[in-house]
């Protein structure tokens, strides 16, 4: 009887001792950012994008926390709403990428053979074309609204996830309980959904997190080139604005949106890295 309890506590202890610095910082940062995004309407007092909220080019003050831009828009409000946009785009596009990527990864990893070769070749080639350019072209031809942006980024970020899923599928598939499931007469679909996925998905999740970080960067990049939904505030767009009026030497226009953007990406990167390390303590690097 003890043995059972001992085994169980040992198991739990192991799970928690793997928590490392990156993971903790990552979780904290991401949580803060997400909360900011969710609470956007509550921590701001007027809607974003409203022009002439105040006099233009005001440096940060008590009234305008982050200052105002060339058209008198409040940078603080726009930044907070921009965070919201980034999060929505980042997460939704990652979901789309997940659907495509996981599906392809599982097919490649489980069925192997010619199909696997083909899919992996396609994935390799997809990696070569820069995601950003492709997304840019898609959005500009289809029209710069938020749905197209989410779609474009989502549809261009599947290769990484596909590769990862295939790798984990391969390693899980080798395990005996999958064979046992076959011997027991489970159908392929049942095996994939019931035995394979629950064991391989957890390993893919950190990469999805990293992908969210990457997608946020892409969204901001698009916004920076002027490609964003005019009805929505975007951090990239704020930076674009800052760049166009750079000669006005209004540092607050670039610094604040940029800091939050960086923190957001940093948060997701740390979270992703932390999760990877958490799941693979053997791969722990020697310094940092």
């Amino acid at each position: 009887m003890y043995k059972l309890i001992l085994n169980h506590t040992k198991y739990l202890k192991e799970k928690f001792s793997n928590f490392n610095t990156r993971l903790i910082v990552g979780i904290t940062l991401t949580c803060i950012i997400v909360i900011l995004g969710i609470l956007a309407p509550f921590i701001t007092w007027y809607p974003p994008l409203t022009v002439m909220q105040g006099p233009p080019y005001q440096p940060p003050s008590l009234q305008y926390l982050f200052g105002t831009d060339d058209l008198g828009r409040d940078i603080y409000v726009n930044t907070i709403y921009g965070i919201r946009t980034s999060l929505i785009v980042g997460v939704l596009s990652a979901l789309i990428a997940m659907l495509i990527g996981i599906l392809l990864g599982i097919i490649a990893g489980y069925y192997r053979g010619f199909l696997e070769d083909l899919l992996m070749r396609i994935t390799d080639m997809a990696f070569i074309i820069p995601q950003f350019l492709l997304a840019l072209i898609i959005v500009t031809t289809l029209g710069p609204n938020i749905y197209n942006i989410i779609l474009a980024i989502g549809v261009t970020s599947w290769p990484g996830i596909a590769r990862m899923t295939r790798a984990t599928t391969l390693s899980v598939k080798q395990q005996t309980f999958i064979e046992a499931a076959k011997v027991l007469g489970l159908s392929d679909i049942k095996i994939i959904s019931s035995e394979l996925l629950p064991n391989s998905l957890p390993s893919v999740i950190p990469y999805i997190t990293l992908q969210i970080g990457n997608n946020i960067l892409v969204e901001a990049g698009l916004g920076f080139l002027g490609v964003s939904d005019p009805n929505v505030s975007s951090l990239g767009m704020l930076l674009n604005n800052a760049q166009q009026h750079i000669l006005a030497n209004a540092w607050w226009m670039s610094v604040f949106p940029g800091i939050f953007l960086s923190l957001m990406i940093l948060g997701f990167n740390l979270l992703g890295d932390g999760l990877i390390e958490y799941m693979n303590p053997r791969l722990r690097r020697k310094a940092f």
Binding site: P130, T140, G221, I246, A287
Partner: protein, 319 residues
């Protein structure tokens, strides 16, 4: 060896065709008349008629596709109304500037990245930790923001560097001063582009050097009695060359994108700035053209690196 090249060539050609087809599809998936995409948002009916003719827009879809592919292969990507130049020649004229930027940046990256990575691996301890942290941050910061910051700090406020362009607007220099002027303008953008990539190269070099240090170093040091520094650097260089080549080769896409964004900030007259301006003008044929040319460049470089790697690799194994 040859089989390998043919295999890759086949794949890359297929990839290029896919790119062309995707572009074609997007042109037709766009809301509204595809003519506007192929011509740009233009109001001149004559021009539009010419475009319709050139791309055969009255004909059935698959014929249009064939015409398009044929055009692309011939180098005809359309005509830019706004700039009165063929898209191809427009883009080609901008490529040198972009390459200059990228090459300079890569030069900086290789030097600094390898140096930092080696130090991090050799000294370990707190230097290593700091460098690692900086690397991590470097990877997370969007380079366009970084560029803006650098512009603000170094250019506007400290007046150390010009705010943009490749050459000074006010005076024209001759001879060597012309090149120095360019270099002067090149500094900020190249550094900005470099920083992001330094982080990556540093990490990789550090990893490689660490590996080497645990093997050769000890034996070599003992047998030769050479000063520590020399041994480390000699080994570091040899081992760093391969990943840097790989990095440049396989990350061309990332570099190109970085270049595009950086050019936008510093008004560096390369492909990136062209893209940005075209976006604003809604000069679609140029945008699509840049996409296709960009893809082509990346594919070619990838192919070269693939072959290079294949050559380098077996030689390394013999070592």
């Amino acid at each position: 060896m040859l089989k390998f090249i043919i295999q890759r060539l086949f794949l890359y050609i297929a990839l290029f065709f896919t790119v062309i087809i995707i572009t074609f599809l997007l042109v037709h998936l766009a809301p509204g008349d595809p003519t506007y995409i192929l011509a740009g948002q233009v109001n001149d009916p004559e021009f539009i008629k010419a475009v319709r003719h050139r791309f055969g827009l009255d004909k059935p879809l698959y014929v249009q596709l064939l015409i398009y592919i044929e055009n692309v292969l011939k180098g005809d990507l359309g005509y830019s109304y706004f700039r009165s130049e063929s898209v191809s020649s427009l883009i080609l004229s901008r490529i040198p500037a972009t390459f200059l930027l990228i090459l300079t940046a890569m030069f900086i990256v290789s030097l600094v990245g390898v140096f930092l990575g080696t130090i991090a691996a050799a000294k370990r301890g707190w230097i290593d930790a700091i460098i690692s942290v900086l690397s991590l941050i470097g990877v997370s910061i969007p380079y366009f923001w970084l560029g803006l910051l650098m512009l603000i700090i170094f250019s506007l406020n400290l007046n150390l560097f010009p705010t943009g362009g490749m050459t000074s607007l006010t005076t024209t220099y001759q001879g060597i001063y012309y090149y120095l002027d360019i270099l002067y303008h090149l500094f900020l953008p190249a550094t900005t582009l470099a920083i992001f990539n330094i982080a990556y190269v540093t990490r990789v070099t550090r990893g490689n050097v660490l590996e080497v240090l645990t093997q050769d170093f000890i034996i070599t040091a003992r047998s030769k009695g050479l000063p520590e520094r020399r041994v480390i650097f000699r080994h570091a260089l040899r081992n760093a060359l391969i990943p840097v080549v790989t990095f440049i080769g396989f990350n061309t896409g990332v570099l190109l994108v970085g270049a595009i964004l950086t050019e936008t900030i510093f008004s560096w007259p390369g492909m990136g700035l062209l893209l940005y301006n075209s976006l604003q003008l809604r000069d679609y044929p140029v945008m699509l053209g840049i996409f296709i040319y960009g893809a082509l460049i990346i594919i070619i470089i990838n192919l070269i690196v693939d072959i290079l790697y294949n050559i380098l690799d077996p030689r390394i194994r013999k070592e």
